[in-house]
Symmetry: C2
Subunit: 235 residues, 2 copies
Amino acid sequence: MHVQYTWLFGWFGEERERDVKINVICPATETHIRKYTKQSQVVVRETPELYREVVSAYIAAFPPSRTQWVENILNGLSEQSKILYSDKAFLILPDMKWDLKTISSLYLVAIVQDRSIRSLRDLQKSHLPLLNAIRTRAIGVASDKWGVGEDSLRLYVHYQPSYYHFHVHVVNANYEGGILGMMVGQAHLLDDIISLLETDASEGDGVLQRMTLTYSLGSHHALLREIQKHKGKST
Amino acid sequence: MHVQYTWLFGWFGEERERDVKINVICPATETHIRKYTKQSQVVVRETPELYREVVSAYIAAFPPSRTQWVENILNGLSEQSKILYSDKAFLILPDMKWDLKTISSLYLVAIVQDRSIRSLRDLQKSHLPLLNAIRTRAIGVASDKWGVGEDSLRLYVHYQPSYYHFHVHVVNANYEGGILGMMVGQAHLLDDIISLLETDASEGDGVLQRMTLTYSLGSHHALLREIQKHKGKST
């Protein structure tokens, strides 16, 4: 069944900015319900070992049905009229959450074609040309179409992301909705990632493979259960 | 004149959680007013060169009167009854914003004695024992006194900070107030900093001296004016 996303605006009075935005997801899966249910946050310190032993298997087992919509966009089967930029390496389109009108909440997403980059953890020095190209093109699109330049844009990557196909969020720096997605630990600035890779002096594994990454997961997150099971085994 | 900080709670009905918290700062300086006035955010990419040429001078010229309150705490002249942990290297006390009761908004701060660490930019591998000790003690205090363990704590550092004397924020991972202070770019997880320093393979300048740091400043921030003046000169 095809999941539909839409939104509605509401006003509590006339001649004013809208007061509420209601997001509708139908039919909502268990995963959607978990994602939007208030959960307590549990902080995880993901060492390279924990990534290898638990997280990479979780990512490999991620149901392809949950990223089919990304495949459809990348393969030209859906959302084609919305695409703002496209080349062999990646494409840029408005995020589902953005209404394409309210500049202060401008929200685009860049999705790469290379399926081998599942997340931040896979990024290496060799990806620098791709990351720099995304940066340049995303700023170009936001600037040309909406007059929002690089001084007003925050570009970032989620870890853990909601789907394991590398993508970059491109958001007005003044946007204050959905701020949880911009929280330290959950969000990593593309500029910081580029700088870390550029200045990485190591041979072999890169900085993003060697680092311990710290982030929080909702207490009902499926990955958290796997991590806790693993901890139970090893202690 | 001594600045007073206090807060008040308000209820819109009986037998319920409080609805509002009002922070009072008196007398409020121009800097306080700027800090709490809504400003548009301007994204700055601080290269090592920009740090050397502009930011370090801004930090050096920061009025000592604005950190006198920190000196008073470190030298045992004020807030001594509030101190939760203290040794030769640093002390831990509740943040001014925390009421010491509401566990879900637990907020402590660790302040180091070493005045040579002005900010994140000064941190090197040699500071790892200090950073690890802060981590261990802060988690110990929050856990022993309030039952909030390391799985429920976010420890982070601001860049730019509001005062240039190295300190670490220790906050309940479920805290959602003042979320701007936890935003990617403004906040850097202590765990990430420790991991970056531990895995840094370079000789000479460390990763935090080599990196470009990206963050936003309010459009009225004094540092932003200096940066824009410098850019005007060099183009």
